[in-house]
């Protein structure tokens, strides 16, 4: 049944308002990063001086470097552990402790951050010394962030594993490949895009976290969000708008590149399939 005019009007109104709500604040952040006035809410002409001030702020740059390093290693570890988790969730249907495993891997998705932050700090203070882990600092933040992000990687990768055609893996095993070989030669290349999305998601989550990092940060491990949070807690600061604009640019470029790669991959797969059909036909 084709939608009536009223239904179409409703559809476009809902979507227009929804997207406006999502994007208007972001657009305003960008616009006001070019504002000459210190009062970020009064427009006083175009200026790029806040970008200059941002790039001269050593504290912010150092914090950004700390955050980027933590986010890189968090994403890398979380992708490895999370992919194993996704294999378990999608492929291993029965083993003792399955319910417990499922609970452990899904609960961090919704657990309030204050609880995760407090519990990891108390754990590291109590028994961290026995394991040789300092209770505060970059290693502690890394551990906390990996714990937070593993589940998100698992969700992303397991949805890809479900779509995967199992007959490919079975065929390889029939031809004599062992499970390890099948995983590295068949499964891994097919789920690679999901690993990239999972890695990026973990990287962003780590780069973004202020609450958990505050609990376990030491004096030499102030992350960018901690720095940003302390400077915006007391109101508006145009330097932070400039930082936001740079981040938005980075995310947009990454999104466009990601979309283009996916599009190209899809096109190539379709062509391959057409070719294969023609050869057989």
């Amino acid at each position: 049944m084709n939608p009536t005019f009223g239904q179409r009007l409703l559809r476009w109104t809902v979507l227009a308002l929804g997207y406006a709500f999502l994007y208007l604040p972001i657009v305003l952040l960008i616009v006001y990063s070019f504002n000459a006035s210190r009062l970020a809410t009064v427009w006083a002409g175009f200026s790029t001086k806040w970008y200059g001030e941002l790039l001269r702020d050593r504290q912010i740059l150092e914090a950004a470097w700390v955050s980027l390093r933590i986010a890189f290693w968090t994403a890398t570890a979380a992708t490895v552990i999370g992919t194993l988790g996704a294999m378990v969730m999608t492929r291993f249907h029965r083993f003792p402790g399955k319910t417990m495993f499922g609970a452990l891997i899904t609960a961090p998705l919704v657990m309030p951050e204050v609880i995760i932050g407090l519990s990891i700090l108390l754990m590291l203070v109590s028994v961290g010394a026995a394991m040789g882990i300092p209770s505060k600092g970059m290693v502690a933040i890394w551990i906390a962030h990996v714990t937070l992000t593993v589940s998100f990687v698992t969700v992303v990768v397991s949805s890809r594993l479900q779509e995967l055609d199992k007959s490919l893996e079975e065929a390889a095993m029939d031809l004599g490949a062992n499970r390890l070989k099948v995983f590295f030669l068949i499964t891994l290349p097919i789920i690679a895009p999901a690993l990239v999305s999972g890695w990026l998601l973990a990287f962003t989550l780590s780069l973004d976290d202020v609450v958990i990092a505050s609990f376990v940060a030491g004096p030499d491990s102030t992350t960018l969000p901690i720095k940003v949070f302390s400077s915006v807690r007391l109101g508006v600061s145009p330097k932070i708008n400039a930082l936001a604009t740079l981040m938005i640019m980075a995310v947009s470029i990454a999104a466009i590149v990601g979309w283009w790669l996916m599009y190209r991959e899809d096109r190539r797969r379709q062509l391959d399939m057409q070719l294969a059909l023609q050869e057989n036909g």
Partner: protein, 303 residues
């Protein structure tokens, strides 16, 4: 004993695959809760770490001292009770608002052509890739007394004096709905896009009006998506700290802020632990509901 029989007793690759994520989460997610539980029964002390041990071995006597003072305070000091109740209220209302905005969005996106709906969905998710902190911060500039919203409304002559929105609970609601909306739309979309449209056609053929078909077919069939979306928004929102802290002002009392204050301002780790344990107990049922849904989803058993 031949090699094949021996292999049964040596942990194989399968167990290694299970063990890595399992041990990590056991060690850094589950066991920490037990430590929080333990510390919630201890007493504040001026030491490092700043609490008393609950088990002591002195003069050949093993004593276990469980201090219930932190929990008694939670239930007798009205500040805590009010904070729990207001957190639940704020989270519940925000979740409802997210559902009211998110359901129609997810519904219409799911009904688009396959080529456009992927882009439409990506456009909903994209803002979440931009720093959460900075998106909350954007609202400070919008809602401020001198902010963009007040200037626009005054410029249009809608209001004469600026509205006080920033640093009130209303601003916290706006911030929570804004930040959590994508988490509502995603599971709803995943559910609605799988809806068998032939069911709706059958209903129309039998004379149902569009709203009747929606209420009696689409809505009941999307229940799993609604539950998942609501849990994904409500559970973390109850413990939210950054949004009420930056937008809510002193009147927005939420338990996440209380926990933060106990830990960072009062340096009272046992009290913060007790606050966390009670929060966890309150959230236990919703977390279990969410776990069940998410496990089915990941195993691909969800219809």
């Amino acid at each position: 004993m031949n090699a094949r029989a021996l292999k049964r007793f040596v942990p194989g690759g399968r167990w290694a695959v299970i063990a890595v994520p399992f041990l990590w989460l056991l060690l850094f997610f589950a066991i920490p809760f037990l430590i929080v539980l333990k510390i919630s029964f201890s007493r504040l002390a001026i030491a490092m770490p700043p609490y008393t041990p609950i088990v002591e071995y002195v003069d050949k006597a093993l004593t276990l001292r469980l201090n219930l003072g932190n929990y008694v305070a939670l239930f007798t000091d009205s500040q805590y009770v009010v904070a729990y109740l207001s957190s639940i209220k704020i989270a519940a209302v925000s979740t409802l608002l997210c559902l009211l905005i998110g359901y129609p969005m997810a519904y219409f996106i799911a009904r688009m052509k396959p080529s456009t709906r992927n882009i439409a969905l990506m456009a909903v998710v994209l803002p979440s890739w931009i720093s959460f902190l900075l998106r909350v911060y954007a609202w400070v500039g919008i809602l401020d007394a001198n902010g963009i919203l007040n200037r626009a409304l005054m410029g249009l002559g809608v209001i004469d004096a600026p509205l006080r929105i920033l640093y009130t609970p209303l601003a916290a609601y706006i911030g929570i709905v804004y930040c959590y909306l994508p988490f509502m739309v995603l599971p709803l979309y995943a559910n609605l896009v799988k809806l068998d449209l032939r069911l709706l056609e059958a209903a129309y053929d039998l004379g149902a009006k569009p709203w009747q078909a929606f209420l009696r077919i689409t809505l009941p069939l999307s229940r799993a998506g609604i539950v998942a979306g609501c849990m994904l928004v409500m559970i973390p929102a109850v413990g939210e700290f950054v949004i009420p802290e930056m937008l809510g002002g002193p009147d927005t009392l939420m338990i996440g802020r209380v926990l933060w204050g106990e830990f960072f301002n009062n340096r009272d780790w046992p009290a913060a632990s007790a606050v966390a344990i009670v929060m966890l107990l309150l959230l236990m049922v919703p977390i279990l509901v969410f776990n069940r849904y998410q496990q089915k989803e990941m195993e691909g058993r969800l219809t």
